[in-house]
Amino acid sequence: MEHAIACTNVRKKLGSFSLDLEHFCVEKGTVHGLIGANGSGKTTTIKLLLGLMKPDEGVVSVLSSTDIAQDTDARNRMGFTVDDASVPSLLNPREMGAVLAGLYHDWDDTAYHQLLKQFKLDEKKPYRACSRGMKVKILLAIALSHKASLLILDEPTSGLDPLSRDEILSLLSEYSKDEEHTILITSHITSDLEKLCDYITVLDEGKIRFTEEKDALLDSYRLVRTTHSALADFDPEAILAKREGEFQIELLMHKEQIPSFAEPIRVTLEELVILLAKGGFKG
């Protein structure tokens, strides 16, 4: 399968933090979620992909371009939102549209204004006077108004109310229906990624712990609830992680390693990521 994004042996050192993307690929036509705690390297990864930072080592390939910082043609086919990079705060959406129409070859002014209308955004309200939710929507409207085949979105849903998050997820879901469209999205709101993504990559302390197809990932693990006294009945090697409560213990296990006496419970992406992180990603 063709890759929209491919990072090979990429290393980037920023002070004491080091990002190490030995092999990270995003297949074309998929929605790929990048999960990680604050400081795990998500935004650094996004900035490397957008050409805002350069790797110390390795190759970053985005839409077949290995020098995205110089390749305006490839950047023309990308839409993005990234932390601490934004449009001029004094400009309003209408003015931004006029500016960006002159920068993107395939700018679709009708689509842009339609999205602004759909998001119920005031075209004359300066960006800086907008709420966090409105700002995200403006940046998304820009990202979706120039026929981009790849969206790279850094925390687009963080800080938004549930209604706005749902609206944005629906829009991204609609966009991803086109097989030519690829999305890489970072978030620590795992429930959003669970709804949207085909693939999940977990980043921890600058390293990729795993990349898995979401459904296969959720299918291969189960939670088991047991008591402290019954814990001895479980094979310690089969326990990937445990969360201890006052009266019971939750165990994360591979589905096939669960003993017959225990009752497996389907795990959510959030529970899975938290428990795997607690267990040192040994699964």
Binding site: L52, A69, V82, S86, A98, L100
Partner: protein
């Protein structure tokens, strides 16, 4: 390129009405008092406008955002130098109009003013832009004030006819040529700085 200038125009339109009033005042004073200080202040105040667009860009994170847009970093730098060039041209026009309007039509005086403004403007941009691109507007503020003071002092000194024509007759040619060279080198340096810039934080 037009789009980048349009963006700066939108910013200017909203923010610098008062500053433009001050520019007009300086240009009228320049014409009325035939003072090189006011002439150069007209240019400097207008160049501050272009400098402020850089500050706004960095504050808003537009410099990082624009670097991920389908526009080359050379174009981003060129846009800023073009804006500065437009500011210099406007300042020359304003002083020219004010000087002629207030009755002084001596060609050597008008030309002298224009050359001094262009040279000052070029040196001002050449010294400040690369530093602001590299270290940001806030960190470069002290340096920018020092450069402004030194340049205004030097240009005022050099533009005194006694000094320029008697001790160094080639001065009216050497200074503008040096200014042109400085701004070309500065542009190359700014392009290099932006191309190698990493937006790890804004």
């Amino acid at each position: 390129m037009k789009a980048l200038l349009l963006k700066d125009w939108y910013l200017l339109r909203k923010r610098w009405g008062l500053l433009f009033g001050v520019v007009l005042l300086f240009s009228v004073l320049s014409g009325a008092q035939a003072s090189m200080l006011y002439t150069l202040m007209t240019t400097m105040m207008l160049l501050m406008i272009s400098l402020n667009t850089l500050a706004y860009d960095q504050h808003d994170g537009w410099d990082a955002y624009a670097s991920a847009l389908p526009v080359s970093r050379t174009q981003l730098v060129l846009g800023k130098y073009l804006l500065a060039g437009i500011c210099i041209v406007v300042s020359v026009m304003l002083v020219l109009l004010a000087t002629i309007g207030l009755g002084d039509r001596r060609m050597d005086n008008l030309l002298g003013n224009a050359l001094a403004q262009v040279s000052f403007g070029f040196f001002f941009v050449a010294c400040n832009f690369p530093l602001i691109l590299k270290f940001g507007f806030e960190k470069s503020r002290v340096y920018y004030l020092v450069v402004t003071g030194v340049l205004i002092g030097l240009t005022s000194l050099l533009s005194q006819s006694a000094l320029s024509s008697s001790s160094f007759p080639a001065l009216p040619f050497v200074v503008p040529f040096s200014a042109l060279l400085a701004i070309l080198l500065s542009f190359k340096l700014s392009v290099f700085l932006l191309k190698t810039k990493e937006f790890s934080e804004t």
